[in-house]
Symmetry: C2
Subunit: 202 residues, 2 copies
């Protein structure tokens, strides 16, 4: 997300990045409710008030991590859409990318979902989030153009996003390590099939 800058900016090296990383790790380990500013500071090897200096308060730090998560999602979307010409295949690939990102960055995803404790009005957060949604919108417009000009793009986008998001949350809740990610990929294939059938009708 952020490469180490050439001119080491201050004492620690890059404390903000270290704090974001520690937060993601901690949330991945103990869940959002196990997060604490002081524990993050401890893991980064700094004093308990250091995080506040960079992120204001706990909501600020979590919001930054959530924004990073949407950043990851955006790059995953871009990679998934790369060179895929068929709009349906692209939508399918994006769905898989979404779920895969949730599994690859459970800490980030956990924070992104804990609506209450992040600041949705934060600029870079909402920018990243809207960019992801805009990418989905465009993918669905492409599906509309290819499949059914009467498709209500807004409704389909909300439906698709809700579905993938809900599915990712439910899948992360259950223990899907056993079944593995390819089982989820298969599920996404089924969902895409069902959705596209619905979108194509009439």
């Amino acid at each position: 997300m952020k490469e180490s800058s050439t001119k080491t900016p201050y004492h620690h090296g890059d404390l903000p990045s270290a704090l974001r990383a520690a937060t993601a790790e901690l949330v991945a380990e103990r869940g959002p409710s196990g997060f604490s500013l002081r524990e993050v500071a401890r893991r980064a090897g700094v004093s308990h008030a250091a995080p506040a200096h960079h992120f204001g308060d706990s909501k600020g730090l979590l919001t930054a991590v959530a924004a990073d998560g949407f950043g990851q999602l955006n790059t995953a979307f871009a990679a998934a859409g790369e060179g895929v010409d068929d709009p349906i295949e692209r939508l399918n690939a994006m769905g898989k990318a979404y779920v895969r990102t949730a599994f690859d960055f459970p800490g980030h995803f956990g924070v992104m979902c804990s609506g209450d404790l992040i600041d949705h009005d934060n600029e870079t957060f909402s920018h990243n989030a809207e960019r992801a949604y805009e990418t989905l919108l465009q993918a669905i417009r492409d599906v509309r153009d290819a499949v059914n000009p009467n498709l209500d793009v807004d409704a389909a986008a909300t439906l698709t996003w809700s579905m993938v998001h809900g599915f990712a949350v439910l899948s992360l809740g259950a223990d899907n390590k056993v079944d593995g990610i390819e089982h989820l990929d298969h599920r996404i294939d089924q969902f895409t099939q069902l959705l596209i059938n619905g979108y194509a009708a009439r």
Copy 2:
């Protein structure tokens, strides 16, 4: 969910119920992260350790409230399906009932969604939750019988649940008080249309 029992069981009257109610109210006001055992106790007019006596710890109380929420959902499902013969109409009504329940009991719903801080292995919680899912499964079996015998019921159920749940979460996040509930009903109508089209195909 629980009528006041005729024989007042102990000092307070019915402290557990009062604590559940206070919890739901508090979460509705301040969100799950604004919840605190002590504030709940304060609102119920008891000492700060009283909740622990009935619910063990904070996770215990929140789990009980989440279980209540699923109870509400079950009664809403039952009421929505009552006397509706067409399986598609029934599924549609259930979707609306889900969203409406989320809006009518935002405290309960907020707790139900905060996966991290409730105990998913709790008996009555998982019982209520599975009952709700089973109701959905049956509704989808009815759709399959009416519309497409080849429909994969499990996949369709996961898809439907994910969709409605995701939609409810996203709708609660946004400020949909302006648009009103009938706008959401309309959205559910659209979604049902799209889903049924998908389910009916081939």
